[in-house]
Amino acid sequence: MTCKELVDFMVDYLSDQLPKGQKEVFELHLSLCPPCLSFLETYRETIELGRCACTNPDGPVPEAVPERLVDAILAARKAHPESDSHNR
């Protein structure tokens, strides 16, 4: 397995979908190749950073829905009662 191939297998490795044999080869390469180890670590950190940056919004979570939007949604429902499963 080359470094390039290892990078290609990374999605499957991280979701634990590599067949056993391939997983062993993957991990063997990783144990012998510091650049690939760094790549895997930073790839993982990328996922984690993206997740935290997007799900941990600055300021109080979660913001309230603006009242005018609440009103608009309720008015739209009233305007089209046939769209309710309740009224079908």
Binding site: C3, Y43, A53, C54, V70, L74, A75, H86
Partner: protein, 253 residues
């Protein structure tokens, strides 16, 4: 992260959602007056939507609320929107980036949810169900946007020598992810970098890594194969990694 992937009744729900699929037809059926937001202007007086937040707190559980919704109680609808609308709006904003479009997507989502209350299965949580509906409504809007040509991300993918070694061998970052995200400024910076990814890739990254949908569910929602989801997700992560690497790489370059 504490969120777990919850598998929802996808087949039924998806078919219910597909009824809404042709958004053009839907818009025709529900003509909006051209307000600046594209939302229905709200003639509150005619609707008599007067319940205050305190008046609508009488639902102790999803089951209570659902029963009241199915009976068509106005207060229950208002409660549902106030209870889940904020979180749904945040999801729509993450996907659509444009506030007014996000609000429209939330409205689409609620109307679609009201229509499919019958198909809602009690074992899923209302919040999880609505989350999925608003993701779908946002994707519909993304899909209907005028296609802008996307910048290729090839320049952001790792490059290799012919023998499969890295052209520029990776190095560790100078801090771990947790430390990197201590300050709000930096989180915003990461969000902005994600927003620079072309929609094709950004969407898959959002659905899989941020909204925690399974590969299959993301594939169903996007109308592409699970394998295409995997490939796009990998490329999106690689591109984002490269962008972050330029900032966080340990030693001197």
């Amino acid at each position: 992260m504490r969120r777990t992937a919850v598998r929802l009744v996808p087949s039924e729900l998806l078919s219910a959602l597909r009824d809404l699929g042709d958004r053009t037809a839907y818009t025709r059926r529900v003509p909006h007056p051209p307000t600046s937001l594209g939302l229905l202007s709200s003639p509150v007086a005619s609707g008599g939507v007067a319940e205050s937040a305190t008046e609508v707190q009488g639902f102790s559980s999803d089951a209570d609320l659902l029963a009241a919704l199915r009976r068509g109680e106005e207060a229950a609808y208002a409660h549902l929107v106030r209870l889940h609308g904020g979180r749904m709006l945040a999801v729509a904003k993450r996907l659509l980036k444009v506030e007014s479009e996000a609000e429209d997507a939330v409205q689409d989502a609620f109307l679609s949810a009201f229509r499919s209350l019958d198909s809602f299965e009690g074992e899923a949580k209302l919040g999880t169900w609505l989350h999925r509906i608003v993701v779908n409504a946002s994707l519909m809007r993304l899909r209907n946007r005028k296609r802008r040509p996307e910048t290729p991300i090839d320049d952001l993918l790792p490059r290799f020598l012919e023998d499969g070694h890295y052209l520029d061998p990776p190095q560790p970052w100078h801090d771990d992810a947790e430390q990197l995200l201590q300050d709000a400024e930096r989180r915003r910076w990461v969000r902005d970098r994600i927003d620079t990814l072309p929609d094709t890739y950004r969407t898959v990254l959002m659905l899989r890594d941020i909204e925690n949908l399974s590969t299959q569910d993301a594939a169903d929602l996007l109308g592409i194969t699970p394998n295409a989801v995997k490939i796009r997700l990998h490329r999106a992560r690689l591109a984002l990694r490269e962008i972050l690497d330029r900032e966080f790489r340990g030693g001197e370059r």
